[in-house]
Amino acid sequence: MIYLLDPLIYLLIYGFLLTAIMGLIASWIDRKVTARVQYRVGPPLLQPLIDIIKLLGKETLIPEGASKITFLMAPIIGFSGVVLVSTILWINNIDPTKSFMGDLIVVLYLLVVPSISIIMGGFASRNPLASLGASREMKLIMGYELPFILAVLVPVIHTHSIRLGNIVSYQATNGIFIGSLSGFLAWIVVILCVQAKLALVPFDMPEAETEIVGGPLIEYSGSGLAVYRLMKNMMLFTLPFFVMILFMGGWKFEGIYSLTGLLKYIGVVAIITVIRNTNPRVRIDQAVKFFWGPMTIIAIIAVILAFLGK
């Protein structure tokens, strides 16, 4: 029972609650900064949470002819994927020696689950616009996955280990990866891939409100949309956290380090927000070319530098 209790506590407290709170705060920072950039006042701190609660109270509509179970289960599957990833990340960050349950490759694969859930949900709603959006999401995955894998492997080349715990403790003794040239280049690539994973401008073509009205989310309302919103907010915490663990030494919770950790986190979120506010949306073919062209080349350079030990 004790064997089970420990991970369960991690799941409930860290993986779900803390991640959700941090994600809601991140979403608030994002919205507030965006508002300030656009000379608006911006929402109050609790607005993201209020949005979700409000959505839970709304009627849940199901489009005619849709596959009901797939349509309703898709948000939950995506949500469970995020919770599992953030649990694994928290365990490895808090106690690098423990490192049970999953490693870097597991995290890489689990990070695709939310995207799959959005795609399946979009397909299941049987709406042409949702299909279009979902297919763009899939093409975007095909695009960014190549440079993302290359860049994420840079820490693996340095440490010769795929355990996240080892990667964190290696950085504690040998300095963080972002300080090295290869690590810095890989970090740039990963940040841009994270932008695409979160489907934020300039890579928001799967949802593109102004042309395909939210894409895969077009038919979602009420509870389904609430869970998707929560999932997206939690991704807004999980992905920057993943970048921190891989390249920026994780988030230590002792004394001054917890504050620097918070600064790192806010810094990554701020960079994402700034990119999102200063760029126009690109077309999907441009995005795929961007990721398979310049991004992959930068990632390959980072990998070669990592092999040379730089």
């Binding site: 042409p128 492997l153 795929v288």
Partner: protein, 575 residues
């Protein structure tokens, strides 16, 4: 030499493991065929060939003598030809000929390899030989024998019979031979070659990994652009063979165990996918992705099994495909620990390959099961009118032909797919407790050190807990009071605009139109990468020259005779 000491057969853990699954796949295929093959001619010969295939496969698996092995192996090639020939498509006979020529040609090369082995060791016993790859003869022997395994498993460049077979043969035949049995047997022989008969060196391992990586990426890129349900699956079957070869090529225990595990998982998933594909075919009799759509609603069981098997083979945790891919990745990383940098290439190829596999499955799931049904699709009537059959498990009355009632296929057909889907889940969630402990590790007789961590059972449990949290959130909301509405497409009524349908066929056109890819795809469309077509073009080219010489005019022949005599005269007398 007396007969008793020949030791023609040998039973060890590896052959038992493969034998058990050969039996399982045969059983499931036969059950499935009972449902699939109604009122078709030649039923007796069909089942007869299947039983003969079972016998021959068991012969291949348990024989210890290479000559005996070759006899069974060659017999399998002929059975493949016969079983493909049972199909009724216009191209069937052409395809069966192609399969026979590729597999049979590879068998001929294997015979050459056998001769080299006899020359090297003077024995045909598989368990007795450990040939080091230090001479040109040994390397040629290995390569010639490996070609046989490659052709059987459908590894590039000997793959081209697999997609064709998938398209033209009967679906149970595809689910039985290229998707499962040929994978098991081809990779089984490669394992025997690699672990028992030869002592591998670094170069040969690198060669295997290169072949595997190339197969994974090239096959899945081809799969992305296919518009025929079965042909697409055929390319994915080729791609999955790449993972198995690559796993064996890593040369360390965890990679080899991963490759062997993937052999099992790939066979289970592909066979399940082809069977579900056959269930859809039974309902509509077309495999053109443009004409399908919307089957999730009328065939829920088939849909769920298809989704499980496709997620499993794309490597989504916690299913079995992920567990084995994860082991292969660790094998590749262990290769990197010995220095060199090529391992990066293999690792990226495998990981990116599984993203592309996922993409091709999303295309299928959209075009076949979700998405809007096509206007020509007879299933549309059931769906558009919202009339869902009351008892979905009654078998369709095939006498109606194309206007048959559309509903879930009968249990004889869905039970095998459900069994395979359950295996996908069990072999993933209990990877260490069931398949690895019972089949894979005993057959390799070695201890495996995992360098990563993946606690599949615990992760699944936690995933279930978080799904429960999600459901609780649902029930906090208004999930109990749902309402069906028309979907919103900018205010238009969807039913009145069938041209607004997104079929799924054009899903990846943007990728296909990228310049460099387009050239390659056009070359592939002209069959520039199909070994069979290329070789046959060369052979017919030579034929043309010969035909030009044989023009039937007497003076030409006389001139040739005189020329020959002149040369003979020079060689024999003047020199």
């Amino acid at each position: 030499m007396d007969l008793i000491n020949l030791e023609l057969f040998k039973i060890d853990s590896l052959s038992t493991f493969v034998g058990v699954f050969v039996g399982l796949f045969t059983l499931l295929t036969v059950i499935y065929s009972f449902g699939f093959m109604d009122k078709k001619k030649g039923l007796f010969s069909y089942y007869f060939y299947i039983i003969l295939t079972l016998v021959a496969s068991l012969g291949v698996v348990f024989s210890n003598d290479l000559v005996l092995f070759m006899v069974f192996w060659g017999f399998l090639g002929i059975l493949l030809y016969l079983l493909i020939g049972v199909g009724e498509k216009p191209n069937t006979s052409k395809t069966s000929k192609k399969a026979l020529i590729i597999v049979g040609g590879a068998d001929a090369l294997m015979l050459l390899g056998l001769a080299l082995i006899w020359h090297l060791t003077g024995t045909f016993k598989m368990d007795g030989m450990r040939i080091p790859l230090n001479s040109a003869e040994a390397i040629w022997a290995y390569l010639l024998l490996a070609i046989g395994a490659f052709a059987k498993a459908g590894v590039m460049p000997f793959h081209s019979w697999v997609p064709d077979t998938a398209e033209d043969a009967l679906t149970p035949v595809t689910a039985y031979l290229p998707a499962s049995l040929d994978k098991l047997l081809g990779i089984y022989f490669l394992v025997r070659l690699t672990l028992n008969m030869f002592v591998m060196n670094l170069d040969m391992n690198t060669f295997l990994m290169a072949v595997g990586s190339f197969t994974i990426i090239a096959a899945v890129m081809m799969a992305l652009i296919q518009n025929d349900f079965k042909r697409l699956l055929g390319y994915l079957a080729v791609s999955s063979a790449g993972y198995m070869v690559l796993g064996l090529g890593t040369g360390n225990f965890i990679g080899i165990a991963g490759g062997l595990f993937y052999m099992l998982n790939g066979a289970i998933c592909m066979s399940c996918l082809f069977m579900t594909c056959g269930s859809v075919e039974k309902n509509v009799r077309t495999m053109d992705l443009d004409k399908l759509g919307g089957f999730a609603k009328i065939m829920p069981i088939t849909f769920i099994t298809f989704v499980i098997a496709s997620l499993a083979i794309s490597g989504v945790p916690p299913f079995n495909g992920f567990a084995s891919k994860w082991m292969i990745y660790q094998g590749i990383i262990n290769v990197g620990k010995n220095g060199g940098s090529l391992w990066m290439l293999w690792l990226v190829a495998t990981m990116f390959g599984s993203a592309l596999t996922l993409a091709s499955f999303m295309k299928l799931i959209h075009a076949v099961f979700l998405g809007q049904p096509s206007p020509e699709n007879p299933a549309r009537k059931d769906l558009a009118g919202g009339r869902i059959p009351k008892s979905p498990l009654i078998s369709p009355k095939s006498s109606h032909g194309d206007r048959a009632e559309h509903r879930e296929v009968n249990p004889v057909m869905w039970v095998p797919t459900v069994i395979l889907a359950v295996l996908c889940v069990v072999f993933g969630v209990f990877a260490y407790q069931v398949p690895l402990k019972m089949f894979i590790l005993p057959s390799l007789k070695m201890a495996v050190n995992f360098s990563g961590t993946w606690n599949a059972t615990l992760a699944t449990l936690l995933m279930l807990v978080s799904i429960a949290i999600g459901i609780i959130i649902y029930f906090l909301g208004t999930i109990t009071k749902t309402r069906e509405t028309e979907s919103f497409v900018g205010g238009e009524v969807l039913k009145e605009h069938p041209d607004m349908r997104v079929s799924g066929v054009e899903l990846y056109n943007t990728v296909q139109d990228i310049k460099s890819l387009k050239t390659i795809y056009n070359m592939a469309k002209n069959k520039a990468f199909d070994l069979y077509e290329v070789v046959s073009k060369i052979v017919f080219g030579i034929n043309k020259i010969l035909r030009y010489m044989h023009n039937g005019i007497l003076p030409t022949y006389l001139a040739w005779c005189l020329l020959g005599m002149g040369i003979l005269f020079y060689v024999l007398i003047l020199r």
